[in-house]
Each structure stands twice: as C-alpha cells, then as structure tokens.
Amino acid sequence: MDLSAFPPVGALLSPFTPAPRWQPGRVGARHSEVFASAEEASGAAAALALWVDGRRAAEGAALEERPWLWVQDAAALRRSGRPYRPGLPAALRRGLIHVAARKAEDALFALEEGVRCRDLAGVIGEIAGNPRALDFTASRRLSLAAERHGVPLFLVRLDAARDLSSARMRWQVRAAMSPPARWNPQAPGAPAWHAELFRARGHVPGEWILTDDEHGLDASQHPGAPDHGDLAAAAGDRSLAAR
C-alpha cells in the first residue's frame, strides 16, 4: 500500500498540537508584563534581560547603542530605587533616558509617548501596585501602540495583583539562588531568577530558572515544576477559551 497518498501524521495533528514552549533567543512579544516584589530588583532586571535577549535575536549579538526609556512612578522610585548607571549592562549605559513620573497616569502617558517614538530601542516601565488608571483599556492602548510602532514595552508591576491586562506575555519573577561565582564560591554569582510565564499568547505557560551571564540569557527547566507534557496547564486566571 502506498502510504504517500495519505497526509503525514504531523499535518493531521497540526491544528491540535499545543503551542510551542517559550525559550530564550527568540524575538519576544511587543508588550510584556513582569510581576515582581518591590523589595528586590528582580522585576526590572528580568525585564532588561528578556528585552536584551529579544533585541539580540532581532539585531544580532552586538547591540547597537540606541536610546531607551525607563519610566518609574513615584511609588516605584521610592520603594525600589533609581536606575544606577554603573550597574547597567555596558551596551545600555549611554542610551538610558529616565523619566520620573509623579503619578501612574503620568507614567502611562510617558510609556505611550515612548512606544510611539521610532528612535527608541525599547521602553521599560515600573509601576507599583494596581493603580486605578492602569485598567484593561490603558493596557490595551499600550499593546496596540507598541505593536503598531514596533517598540518593545516591558511593564514591571511591583507588588501588584494579577489584574486584567492585554499584555502578550505575563511573567511572575522572583530572585533565585545564583550559580556559584567562578573565582569566589562564597560570593553571589551571575543573576538568576525564577520566572513563571503564567499567561502568553502563542506559548504554553511554564516555569524556568533564568540565568543572565556574559553569554546571554539561559533558561533551564525549573526542577520543582512537573512536566505536563501535552496536558493543559492548570487554568489559574488564564482564559479558558480555546487559543
């Protein structure tokens, strides 16, 4: 019997194959949210690492020095500090433009102006809590503007509840034990975070340990997370509608 007359199994299954798992080294979403605690810098650091990883995938390993925007509202500034230039990755130091907004409304305005600007390489926002101004409509505006103008936006939500949002990828991030430093095992090593992708368009949710060393972002499977295989992940607060 000539099997070539039949379509291959993969083609039959394709409408039903689950979305691919996220992995570093791919161009990321235009609008992502990172939930983190304000008592640690993990949120902003993971957002920077994911953004740089996406830029490397799009532009090549050597990053062009382009201006980028870091917007903070007053509460985020007070609770988690101000960007410190010597601590930034060397390729990002010159381009940083910092916006200290007083209220969340001003921060959202600055974010939207930022993603509309063609000269910016990206926009990082930090907003503390769940302000009334940051509702689904505001988030949708940001998503549409970011996708229209092609400027990636990472919104770090400090000490915030997981509210409604139109962000394409939503992460929950907390610090993880760093790998031992190369020369001094007693010292803190390269930054590492425990990252949970709990809502994403086009990816299945999952948990990873992200490590950002000089070679780039590296993701390993979180040891505690069970491998669900093809099973649907727990619903959590994600939509139950078919994707």
């Binding site: 007070r78 960007p83 410190y84 910092h98 102006e113 600007c117 993880a176 001094n184 803190p188 950002d212």
Partner: protein
C-alpha cells in the same frame, strides 16, 4: 581704532536730564554714587563736582565734608553697559565690526576702511564729531593693534594715529602670504620693522597703558618701571620669571606682546540679533479655548515660515496673550532640540494654555522665538508617514518634559567620584556626553540605588566580620553568600574630617535576593559611636 568715553556715566546722566554741559542741573556739583560693602561711594562726578573736590572712588561722606552742596544721583552700571553695546552697534558705521571694551571703551576694526572717509585723520574727526553730536566726551586713536590703540586713546595725544606703513604696502604683504617665508626679515603677523616702530612710538607712555590690573601696576611701580620704554631694557626671561600669571591682566609681558602685535588678541564683536516674532491682532476678542487653540496654531504656522526663512529652529518660545481689560499672560516653552514644526509647537502650547484667564477676551497674541539655533531644511513627511513611523526622539522628549517638567526627564552620566551616589549625575537627555573614565571591570555595581540608604539591623559574628543576618523593611534576610568588604574612603578633599568610611558588602540571602549593604565607619575609629549598617543598592 579705540574709542574711550571717559565720562560715560555722567554723559548718560546728562542725556537723561536733557541739559547741556555746564548748564541747568549740570551747573551744580553732582556725583553719581554706588552702594558698596563699605557704604556709599562716588562712581562718577560732573565737572563742577570734580572742581569742588569729589573724586571717583571717594566715600560720599568724605566728599560731603569737602563740598556740602554736593547733589547725588544713583549710578547705573547695567544701563551703562547696555548703552555701550548699542553704541558699539552704532560705531559699526566706521568699520565692519566693533567690540565693547569694558567698562567705558569701544574697539572698532577700521582696517582698509579709512579711505572711505578720506583718510585716517578725517575718520577720527568724523568720529569725534559723531560723539560730540551725541553729547559724549570721547578720545580716540588709530593703531595697528588693539592694544596700541587702547594705550594711545587713553594716554597718547589727542586723535593720535600710528600707521605702521602705508595701506598699499599692508595690502601687498597680506595678499602674498606665500612670499613671507622667502623674504628675509619678515616673520609671522606684523613685520619686526612694524613692532619696533610701535614700541618706539609708545615708549613714553606710562605702564598703565598696558591694561594691567592694580596689583601688577603696583609691582611695576615698586620696581621703578614707569614708562613702556623702561620695559624694553629688561630681558624677556627676567619678565617671564617675575610674572608667571597666565591671565593677560596680570602679566606685562603678554600685554606687551599684544600691544606690539607679536601675540594675537581676539576681540568679541557685538552683533545685533533680532528674535523672530509673529503676532495676530484680533478683531473680535476671543474668550473661548477652541478659538485660542486656532490662533496659536496660526501663530505657530507663521513662526514656521519666519524660522524657515532664516534657516533656524526655535529652542525657546514665548507666547504673550494681551487681554482687553489690560492684563497679559505669558507662557514660555523650551524645546529639547531646535524645531520649527508648527503642529508640534501648537500641541506643546495647547498643554500649557489650560490655566489662562481670558477675562473679557484676548485681543492680541504674539509668539516670539527668544532662542534659536541653525536648522537646515529637511524633506517633509510624505502622506501619513508621521502617523506610521512614530515620532522622533526630540519630539518625544519635548512632549514628556512639557507635561512632566524638565526635571523629570533626565539621563544619567558618569561623574568622577568614588562615593557611589555621587558617581552618577543627571543631565538633560539630548545634551552631549562629557568625556568619562572607563568603569573598573572588577567593580560589580547594583542595578538600582535607593535615593537614600536605608538603615538595617545586622547580626554579625565578630565586629569586623561578615554580616550573618539583617532586618530590612520588617523582613528578615539570612545572608548565605557574601563578597567584600570593598572599602570606600571619604573624599578628604571635599568632605569634613569627621566623615566615616564605608565598607561595602555584596550579599545574597537564602532565597537569592541580592543586595549592596555597607557598614558606616569602623568600631573605635573615634568618629562617633558604634558603626551603623545601611542598605543602598539592589542587584539584578
């Protein structure tokens, strides 16, 4: 050519009083006084006042003792300076550019212009007649260098002219610079023949003609050097050893070289600049916001044309709105980069017009560009390109700083300091970077720094040992890994002697949160009690 106005302040006062010399109010002794730290001091006095014994620089009380009838008026140095600037513009009728020579003189470049007035002597006569017609007492002189002209105007004969050689030979030498090297005896700039002539002609002038400050003149007088000719007898090396100051005001050798033309002396000419201005007079006073927005958009379009005509872009704009009932409102706008885009300007002003009181209506709107920069013409956006491609960086920053304030949109730049919070400074986003030193590779600095280090309670094994556990913001952190200490000493050249050093530790707690903490001081350093601990930075 140098013009000296020895009686500038008094002449201005007389012009303001509209009286002739020696008549009316000027007939009585009068002094213009300035307030100093020691009290009222005479800045200038008229002829009758000088005759009565009031000398500029004298205390008013002393002058009153000599001449009780002395009348006084306030002196006005700012007004004198502004008058001098206008006079410099007026003096450009005799030469292509003129510079202000503080506090009471002008320098006009008349190179190659004297023949237009029938020779240098006639030029000076014309200047004297012009100044006399304006009621100004003036002395003037022409010389090959600005320094020599200055000296002759103040200490030389009336209307002195020092022409080194005839204009034709000057022109010939200037037009054939290639031959200079080949011709024997001709050096750069003025020929040696020329500076010898200048030094011969000026040898009898006092050393004050060198434009020196009081201290240098005092030294010269104590050395017995009274005339310029006395300085020629002394070797250059001796003068160089004695006067090491690099500022020309305190260095006779530099001044002498400038006077003789051996050293160039750039002067700063005064140039009249008019700010582009557009305005709309409104037939019907406007009271509503939509109409005002329309008028501002029209003004911005006019301003765009005005700026385009001069190839400039605006950095600062001032919008004035005059009301029918005799009140006015002003709004100033500063832009991050030069622009003349009407829509952008109108949009930025629209954000600032919310609190304008219209009263009975606005009858006159005026837009002025008080600061402009050159801006070349560009290809305009085709179709809806602006909507598709997004805004430029300068436009984005303008919008942000108009809504949030200029202090909210800034860029960190490196600063040469060891203290972590001083190692970065903030500046406007589009300003160029200052040169900076490369970061030390072994310094691992935190991603974020708290504005104010927060005190923490630390448990440690020994007073100088590693921290074991700390409490910050009501959370307990067990230190698992630690690197340090990195000792950062206070900057003794800036801080007080009692400032304490800091020992910085990079720590990681049991769940992986990484912090930068420091101990402020060491136990027993004699600069306060037991050292306190602070948390300053958050690592990635």
């Amino acid at each position: 050519m140098a013009i000296w106005l020895p009686r500038l302040a008094i002449d201005r006062w007389r012009l303001a009083e509209a009286c002739q010399r020696g008549e009316g109010a000027d007939a009585a002794p009068l002094a213009l006084i300035a307030e100093t730290a020691q009290g009222l001091r005479i800045a200038a006095a008229n002829d009758a006042g000088l005759a009565a014994g009031a000398v500029p620089g004298m205390m008013l009380a002393d002058a009153r003792a000599v001449c009780p009838a002395l009348a006084v008026g306030p002196s006005d140095p700012g007004g004198d300076r502004a008058f001098l600037e206008r006079l410099a513009l007026w003096a450009r009728r005799w030469g292509p550019w003129a510079a202000v020579d503080e506090p009471d003189g002008l320098c006009v470049d008349v190179t190659g212009a004297a023949h237009l007035f029938g020779g240098e002597a006639r030029l000076l006569a014309d200047v004297e007649a012009g100044c006399a017609a304006r009621g100004l007492a003036a002395r003037m002189a022409i010389a090959p260098t600005a320094g020599a002209a200055w000296a002759l105007a103040r200490y030389g004969a009336e209307r002195a002219i020092l022409d080194s050689f005839s204009p034709s030979s000057l022109r010939a030498e200037r037009s054939t610079p290639g031959h200079h090297a080949g011709r024997p005896g001709v050096l750069r700039g003025l020929s040696p023949r020329n500076d010898e002539r200048i030094s011969e002609a000026l040898a009898d002038l006092p050393v004050a003609a060198l434009r020196l400050d009081g201290a240098a003149l005092l030294v010269l007088r104590r050395l017995g050097l009274k005339r310029l000719g006395d300085l020629h007898g002394i070797g250059r090396d001796a003068l160089k050893r004695r006067f090491r100051d690099r500022s020309p005001d305190a260095n006779p050798l530099l001044r002498l070289d400038q006077l003789l033309g051996r050293r160039p002396e750039p002067l700063l000419p005064v140039i009249a600049v008019s700010a582009p201005l557009v305005q709309r007079r409104l037939l019907e006073p406007i009271r509503y916001r939509e109409l005002l927005d329309r008028v501002v958009a029209d003004l911005a379009a006019d301003m765009e044309h005005a700026l385009e005509a001069r190839g400039a872009g605006a950095r600062r704009l001032e919008l004035g709105l005059w009301r029918v009932d005799g009140d006015a409102a002003f709004r100033t706008l500063e832009l991050a980069a030069a622009t003349r885009e009407a829509a952008h300007i109108a949009r930025l002003f629209a954000a600032r017009l919310d609190d304008v009181e219209a009263g009975f209506g606005i009858e006159l709107a005026r837009l002025r560009a008080t600061w402009t920069e050159p801006l070349a013409c560009e290809q305009g956006a085709l179709g809806s390109a602006g909507e598709e491609q997004g805004t430029s960086l300068a436009v984005c920053i303008d919008r942000l700083s108009v809504r949030l304030g200029a202090a909210a949109v800034r860029r960190p730049v490196a600063h040469a300091s060891h203290i972590p919070e001083r190692a970065q400074r903030w500046q406007a986003p589009l300003e160029p970077d200052a040169p900076e030193q490369e970061q030390m590779m072994f310094h691992a600095r935190p991603l974020k720094l708290l504005d104010r280090p927060e005190p923490i309670e630390v448990l440690y094994a020994t007073p100088d040992g590693y921290p074991r556990q700390f409490r910050w913001r009501a959370g307990l952190h067990e230190v698992v890994r630690v690197a340090g200490p990195e000792r950062i000493a206070p900057e003794w050249w800036r801080q007080k002697g009692s400032a304490r050093l800091r020992d910085y530790y990079r720590v990681e707690d049991s769940v992986g949160r990484r912090y930068w903490i420091y101990r402020h001081g060491i136990a027993g350093d004699g600069r306060g009690g037991p050292p306190l601990w602070y948390l300053q930075g958050l690592y990635a």
